[in-house]
């Protein structure tokens, strides 16, 4: 069976039973994670910690959604950052121009991102490997250039100025840092849970099969194009949610959010954390932001430090940290069983 081949670590799977149990486990983990995160402000009086987790939410959603493409489907997108930027700009513009309540603007942003992703994806997902990577990059630069040149709408390279209004809804005031923090945590946890469901669903296994052998998937009767397009659009939605969180954090949107460097950071995070586990990119995000924040505190030559770190992961470990940890753990347990 193909599902067996595609299963992690090659262990046989009893799908239906495992699925329901795993689903409960995932939901429970999510609830516990949210409760722990949401109660942090009660114990720690550090605004920097809250800022850190808010940024983790934005980049974590972005990087994990990129991993749905890179790790699960084998589609190396170099342009995923465009949806991060699109999310930030759509949300910011809707809030500035229309003054609708925040949830409405959020939903509208998701709809806009989905439409954009469907159009761009329809063109890109037919292509393979390097061609896919480059065409996504091209679309990213197209969106970036549009943001730069459409000055009357986007403010050009100065970005969306004047702050994003954050009217209170349902008693939630996103202008308040703690409220924004809890909302970001909620979005992060819900986003991760949804992505986990996608990854563990039959559709998720279809994606792994496409990654491993697209021709075979197609012979089995899977519409590869449609499956790829679906995951491209879904991933875009989560990336765009990350963009919304970032725009709320900085109270603006800037062309840099849609620049290729954001996509590059996404890839970098995935390399740090590892692409073969679901939480790898999330760990990568935490690692990346800690590295970034501490290194820039001490030196302006952070590029060289980050470069050495990535070389260490790419050449030294040959995998991301999460992959390494899991393999190390498995090897240790294996040794224990032998003894």
């Amino acid at each position: 069976m193909t599902e067996l081949q595609a299963a992690p670590r090659g262990k046989p799977l009893n799908l239906p039973r495992l699925e329901t149990r795993a689903r409960y486990r995932d939901a429970l983990t999510a609830i516990v994670a949210f409760v722990v995160l949401a109660s942090l402000p009660l114990f720690f009086d550090s605004k920097a910690l809250l800022d850190f987790v808010i940024r983790c939410s934005a980049f974590g959603l972005f990087a994990t959604s990129l991993n749905l493409l890179v790790g699960y489907t084998g589609m190396i997108s170099f342009g995923h950052g465009m949806f991060f930027g699109l999310g930030a700009y759509s949300f910011g513009l809707i809030m500035q121009k229309t003054g609708v309540p925040i949830p409405v603007a959020f939903i509208a942003t998701l709809v806009l991102s989905a439409v954009a992703a469907a159009v761009i994806g329809a063109i890109c997902v037919r292509l393979k490997e390097i061609y896919f990577a480059f065409v996504t990059l091209a679309f990213q630069m197209l969106i970036h250039s549009t943001i730069l040149s459409w000055v009357s709408l986007t403010g050009g390279d100065q970005g969306l100025r004047g702050g994003i209004p954050r009217p209170v809804f349902l008693g939630i005031d996103l202008g308040n840092q703690v409220h924004l923090y809890v909302a970001s945590c909620a979005l992060l946890v819900i986003g991760l849970l949804l992505m986990r469901q996608i990854a563990q669903s039959p559709f998720g296994y279809t994606l792994r099969m496409i990654r491993d052998n697209a021709a075979r998937a197609s012979f089995v009767g899977i519409d590869v194009w449609r499956a790829k397009l679906t995951i491209f659009v879904l991933a875009a939605l989560f990336a765009s949610t990350g963009g919304v969180i970032m725009s709320l954090f900085v109270s603006g949107a800037y062309p840099e959010f849609a620049y290729w460097t954001i996509s590059g950071e996404g890839i970098f995070i995935n390399m740090l954390g590892g692409v073969t586990t679901f939480l790898g990119p999330m760990l990568g995000t935490v690692l990346f932001l800690i590295l970034n924040d501490t290194v820039t505190r001490f030196t302006e030559y952070h590029g060289i430090v980050l470069g050495i770190v990535i070389l260490f992961f790419a050449i030294g470990l040959r995998k991301g940290l999460m992959d390494f940890a899991i393999e190390w753990y498995a090897a240790r347990r294996g040794r224990g069983e032998q003894a």
Binding site: S46, K47, A48, D51, R55, L148, V151, G156, D157, Q158, G159, R161, G162, G163, G175, M246, F249, V250, S251, G252, Y254, P255, E256, F257, T261, D293, T296, R297, E300, Y301, H302, G303
Partner: protein, 419 residues
């Protein structure tokens, strides 16, 4: 088999590493306990293509802080600068600014960011209510647009529209005297380039209505090869050329245009030429390029200004930049405002700073003023002159007239719906 030591870091050495890490993190707290220093945070760009913006800003700030601290600091509290790199990314600028205030305990912010980063820090200042002085963003709307305005944010940089008014009137007087009717423009393709060129042309035509723009080129920012735009300008055969290219772009442009002997064929107005970043880097600086002053130690031609430029050069081995004087002014203003308020409290300093006039080496008449109604700097040295190939590079600068600037600025604000 006996257990051998596993490869990699041992538990003991990891503990030692963690301990060392903690000690490094704790060091700032130990330092803080010794003196009641007032921490001033400064996000800026210290890496990448425009790292010179950050380094020359930092140099100037540190030079001035040394002086202020020697005379008692801010109301008796010595200034301690905490300067961090934002890499020119607005989200990093916002993050760094928040961290400086929330974690490092900075009570004041010097925002030495460029363009979009400045707006990001502006939002942080709005959010946290901390006193913030923008020192590098010359985008007019940052202070001119009432929607942007907050009581705790000030600007000690030039303002785009001031430059355009002075440039336009100077260029028009030369155009009339020499009969320059056909003009070309060549400016970098981004907001600064487009806006500045547009405003310059607006005021040029206002003072010299029969001027005609016959060619426009928009090279990309940081473009390495200008052959195409140089030949385009030459083919159009204009009598004068305006450009707001700056820094490395301007010097590459001049070096490449020299090959085509462009400067002999037309009058060139390069607003950003008279800055040491460009003057000292160009291989063969042509004679007679018209330029606005950015920073030059011979204008204003006062002993104070020359002394300031020399002191900077003595300390850092290079001349200051336009960014340097803008940042130095921020510290000078802080010091004077704090003296006036007799306090180091941000709110009281802000109150004292509104409308404050201080003695300054960079003022047209030896003073600069923080205008009260839009909290931006006025009265700074602004003028145009022509280049010569060696020091002092721009021997004579024709000063702009602040009365005209104020009149036209008010008109410009009205036409943009800013007042």
């Amino acid at each position: 088999m006996t257990r051998t030591r596993k490869p990699g870091i041992s538990r003991r050495s990891s503990l030692a590493l963690m301990g060392a890490g903690l000690a490094t993190l704790a060091a700032p707290w130990a330092a803080r306990a010794q003196a009641k220093a007032i921490k001033v945070g400064m996000p800026t760009i210290l890496s990448g293509r425009v790292a010179q913006l950050g380094t020359s800003s930092r140099n100037a700030v540190l030079l001035e802080v040394e002086r202020v601290n020697a005379t008692g600091g801010l109301a008796g509290r010595p200034i301690e600068m905490v300067i961090r790199d934002s890499k020119g990314q607005p989200q990093e600028a916002a993050r760094v600014a928040r961290e400086l205030v929330n974690t490092d305990g900075c009570e004041l912010l010097i925002d030495a960011e460029a363009s979009s980063g400045a707006f990001a820090v502006h939002e942080v200042a709005r959010d946290l209510g901390v006193l913030c002085i923008h020192t590098n963003s010359e985008t007019s709307s940052l202070t001119a647009d009432p929607k942007q305005r907050i009581p705790n944010a000030f600007r000690t940089a030039r303002q785009g529209v001031h430059d355009s008014i002075v440039g336009g009137s100077y260029a028009a007087s030369i155009a009339k005297a020499k009969g320059l009717k056909k003009w070309a423009t060549c400016s970098p393709d981004y907001a600064y380039g487009r806006d500045t060129t547009g405003e310059f042309v607006l005021y040029l035509k206002r003072f010299a209505p029969d001027v005609e723009i016959i060619s426009e080129s928009w090279p990309k920012l940081f473009q390495p090869d200008y052959t195409e735009v140089v030949t385009k300008v030459l083919q159009a055969r204009p009598q004068a050329l305006y450009t707001c290219l700056w820094g490395g772009d301007l010097t590459s442009y001049i070096d490449q245009a020299n090959i085509y002997a462009l400067f002999g064929q037309m009058e060139v107005f390069a607003v950003n030429m008279a800055d040491y970043t460009a003057l000292t880097v160009v291989k063969n600086l042509p004679k007679g390029i018209h330029s606005g002053n950015r920073y030059i130690k011979t204008y204003p031609s006062t002993p104070e200004n020359a002394a300031w430029g020399d002191a900077y050069k003595a300390k850092y081995g290079e001349y200051p930049t336009n960014w340097s004087w803008e940042n130095a002014t921020a510290i000078m203003l802080l010091a004077e405002a704090s003296k006036k308020a007799n306090s180091a409290d941000g709110k009281k300093i802000a109150e004292a700073m509104r409308g404050l006039t201080i003695k300054s080496p960079f003022g047209t008449d030896g003073t600069v003023t923080m205008r009260a109604d839009d909290q931006t700097l006025v009265g700074y040295a602004i003028g145009w002159g022509t280049t010569i190939p060696q020091e002092p590079y721009v021997p004579e600068v024709k000063p702009g007239d602040w009365k005209t600037i104020f009149e036209l600025e008010a008109e410009w604000k009205k036409s943009n719906g800013y007042s």
